[in-house]
Symmetry: C2
Subunit: 473 residues, 2 copies
């Protein structure tokens, strides 16, 4: 192992092979569920260095855990406790190599912080639409490795749909330059999409060419108080009809989620919180290529139709950017408000949109039966069928104890309901090591066997993040 | 072999195993370049029958050529001349299983004709946006197998981007049901995209869940006369800015392509054809979720800006559906007009949009130098960077002889130029058996080796369309 570390030092320089001191930032996951121990944390500066690092590890049979901002929620980017894995942190590769305005693409290295990328594009008049809570610390490489979702998927798709090309170092340490930035290219299997969302188990994404869009002339936000979950689904259909591709955000929140925000962040002023007649609220965004005036008139037409059909009880359209930010801030504060309330059992599920109301009713009922008093924090990206269906301990029950005793059971209640309604147990967070043992119970065995065959074919030594996602079994 | 045929008859019924009579429709490719000979043409009616057919063939070591409408342009869906391959034609599996309005999805079997699917969705008030010349005879399974493109890609993406889930029979004859219809699902490798565009070399797509959209309130078409190719790229950028996601079509045509239409289909009345000042024309489409009036006002704002910047020389916006159809009909008649003029050397290339003007200039110059008098039919989906950069024999030269003598050379002139500008030698048509020997010269060796590993992993017997796309080498 000392030979390997010497090689790694030679490749990336002494300063960028970390073995001593406090490596918590690299060895512990974002939610602090697991604290591993790395053989070394290696921080290469170039694609060639990444390739050399992989080759050195492969020659030594040492496994590699690729890491971006280490903000994932399923423990997929930290080492195990053996002290034998190399953490390959891409944080030094953060160049934005090129913005191509006519091609509407940006080519960026894996370690670039998402928010940096958003801001750089915006400064040139372009929108990079991927947006999610961790954007200040997550990296585009991590977003690609996990196929991150976020709040703009209803219009722009997941990270997958925003990517036109990849540069990858494969498990043999070879560099594949697939950064063509083409919108059409049918010259073989879709390796790009195979690597996207593979959680570093097939190779290391070192750079990508991503789609950008002309900045919309206006982005308006509205908040609607809903009489039922079903009404939210009806409003979504109306919004698709009235706004077309202008609909760039559609989030749902249940009343309990909002009361937590109201309780722990009273300065945020949740709209209509004092009116107990609405069990759900929706925040929606309309992006318009014409003007704010036009965006507003379309929102008004939509809301008029919704009021007429008695889908919406009350609504407010943000008058200015400050109000819009406040509405989104309420939505984004739900996870933090939950933390303030105490530990909870998180889920990240998706169900076909047409079946969500029935799923919510069914799953809530089973949870109520089996876990009396549990408090449901139900919110998420309804436009994509993705809910964070989180379960908070009953009032007065110790949250830590609740988690320790009931997490497994609660997970399976939710997952079984998801399966019954044709959904997914991981919509946007991925599998990592956290759900790796759960996956086989809910994924098709035929699909799993094909995934294992692909893993064995591309990483025959089983050195790329071997405990995550698709294990060799 | 007689045992195998007996088994196949037992699985799908005698009437659906064709061995005698005129099998040209199944054995010859669309452009009549190759006429193969099948052991049998098998036409299953269900996914279970497909699985049983694959199992029977696998047990016998017999290779399978999956086939949809057999309209592909790269000889990827016909048998070789050995008389030993089974053609698996999906034409009987044409059910539209479900239209889910709230989920905005349609689930459809592989053999459904594309136009049938479009019409069924439209009758329910929804748009299935995939649109291409062969839509009256191609099937959705073939579209998926080849990742078909067409005229709406600038807004809706390729077939790949329209698909949310697949049902597949793999090379072992197992059924993978991946028809969840979820917009977010991060539970393993992206097998869906691996099978899409794999040209039947990994398994057989038997059904799919595809995205649909609320029918736009208005679809307007305009025609613009352009002073240069570069101006067309400038107009595209303006159109993205002014129309946003309303821009659903953007096609470019050079003057020679239009003179062929004018010559062979004079009834079509090509706009501005008598004005020699424009070397290029563009047809563009604006889809609006609000109204025709609004669509028209946005088109006018766009054209005004384009006139001011002297990008556009002259323009016309279709006044009604009839005029719009006529404009599109001109664009779509170019391939037929070329046939009328005589055989030609076809290409289907893509280049980053920012580099297309330079590519066109360079490639044209090299062709002019090496093939004096050649006539370039340059047209295609500029919005996606995809051109059909076709070469017609010099005037007075026998087209057949020109093709026989010069095709190989002309292909490599064009492909070398494409490679020099970072493009793709097959944007939307695929590889098939026609380009299988050319691919390794232009695709990354690292990518090819990964593709071969995937092929070997998922089809270890090498029985799925073994001569197409990625051969085992």
């Amino acid at each position: 192992m000392t030979d390997l570390i010497a090689s790694l030092r030679q490749i990336v320089g002494d300063a960028h092979v970390l073995t001593d001191g406090d490596l918590t930032a690299y060895e512990q996951d974002w939610r602090r569920r697991v604290h591993g121990k790395a053989l070394a944390v290696v921080r290469p500066a170039t694609t060639e260095q990444v390739a050399a690092v992989v080759k050195a590890c492969a020659a030594n049979g040492t496994s590699i855990v690729p890491q971006g901002g280490n903000t994932g929620l399923v423990v997929g980017s930290t080492p195990d406790t053996s002290g034998q894995q190399v953490v390959l942190n891409l944080g030094r590769m953060q160049a934005i190599r090129a913005i191509d305005k006519d091609n509407l693409t940006v080519t960026v290295e894996a370690g670039c912080i998402l928010q940096t990328l958003q801001e750089r594009c915006e400064s040139q008049g372009y929108l990079f639409p991927l947006s999610l809570a961790a954007e200040g610390s997550c990296t585009i490489g991590g977003n690609l490795g996990t196929n991150a979702g976020g709040t703009q998927v209803v219009r722009y798709g997941n990270t997958r749909e925003l990517c036109l090309g990849l540069e990858v170092v494969n498990a043999q340490g070879e560099i594949w330059n697939g950064l063509k930035g083409l919108r059409k290219d049918n010259t073989g299997y879709d390796l790009r999409n195979l690597f996207i969302g593979s959680e570093g188990t097939l190779g290391v994404i070192t750079a990508a060419t991503m789609k950008i869009y002309p900045m919309p002339a206006s982005q308006l936000t509205a908040w609607a108080a809903m009489p039922s979950f079903d009404a939210a689904v009806r409003l979504l259909a109306l919004a698709h009809q009235y706004l077309g591709a202008g609909l760039t955000g559609f989030e749902v929140m249940n009343r309990f989620a909002l009361t937590l925000v109201d309780k722990h962040m009273p300065q945020l002023r949740v709209p209509f919180i004092d009116n107990p007649a609405f069990p759900y609220a929706v925040v929606l965004e309309n992006s318009d290529s014409e003007s704010e005036e036009h965006a507003r008139s379309r929102f008004e037409a939509l809301m008029e139709a919704a009021f007429e059909q008695e889908i919406v009880l009350d609504a407010v359209v943000a008058e200015n950017l400050g109000q819009a930010h406040n509405l989104w801030h309420i939505r984004e504060s739900i996870p933090l408000a939950q933390v303030e309330e105490g530990l909870n059992i998180k889920h990240d599920i998706s169900v076909p949109i047409s079946r969500i109301p029935e799923f919510v009713e069914h799953a809530t009922q089973v949870l109520n039966d089996k876990v009396p008093g549990m408090r449901l924090v139900n919110f998420g990206h309804l436009g994509d069928g993705n809910l964070h269906f989180n379960v908070q301990a009953p009032e007065g029950v110790d949250a830590k104890q609740f988690l320790d005793e009931r997490e497994h059971e609660v997970n399976h209640i939710v997952y079984d309901a998801v399966a019954a309604f044709g959904g997914s147990i991981s919509a946007e967070h991925g599998i990592g090591t956290l759900k790796v043992d759960t996956l086989p119970q809910y994924q098709s065995p035929v699909a799993l066997s094909m995934m294992r065959a692909v893993k064995a074919a591309l990483d025959p030594q089983n050195i790329m993040n071997p405990h995550a996602m698709v294990t060799r079994g």
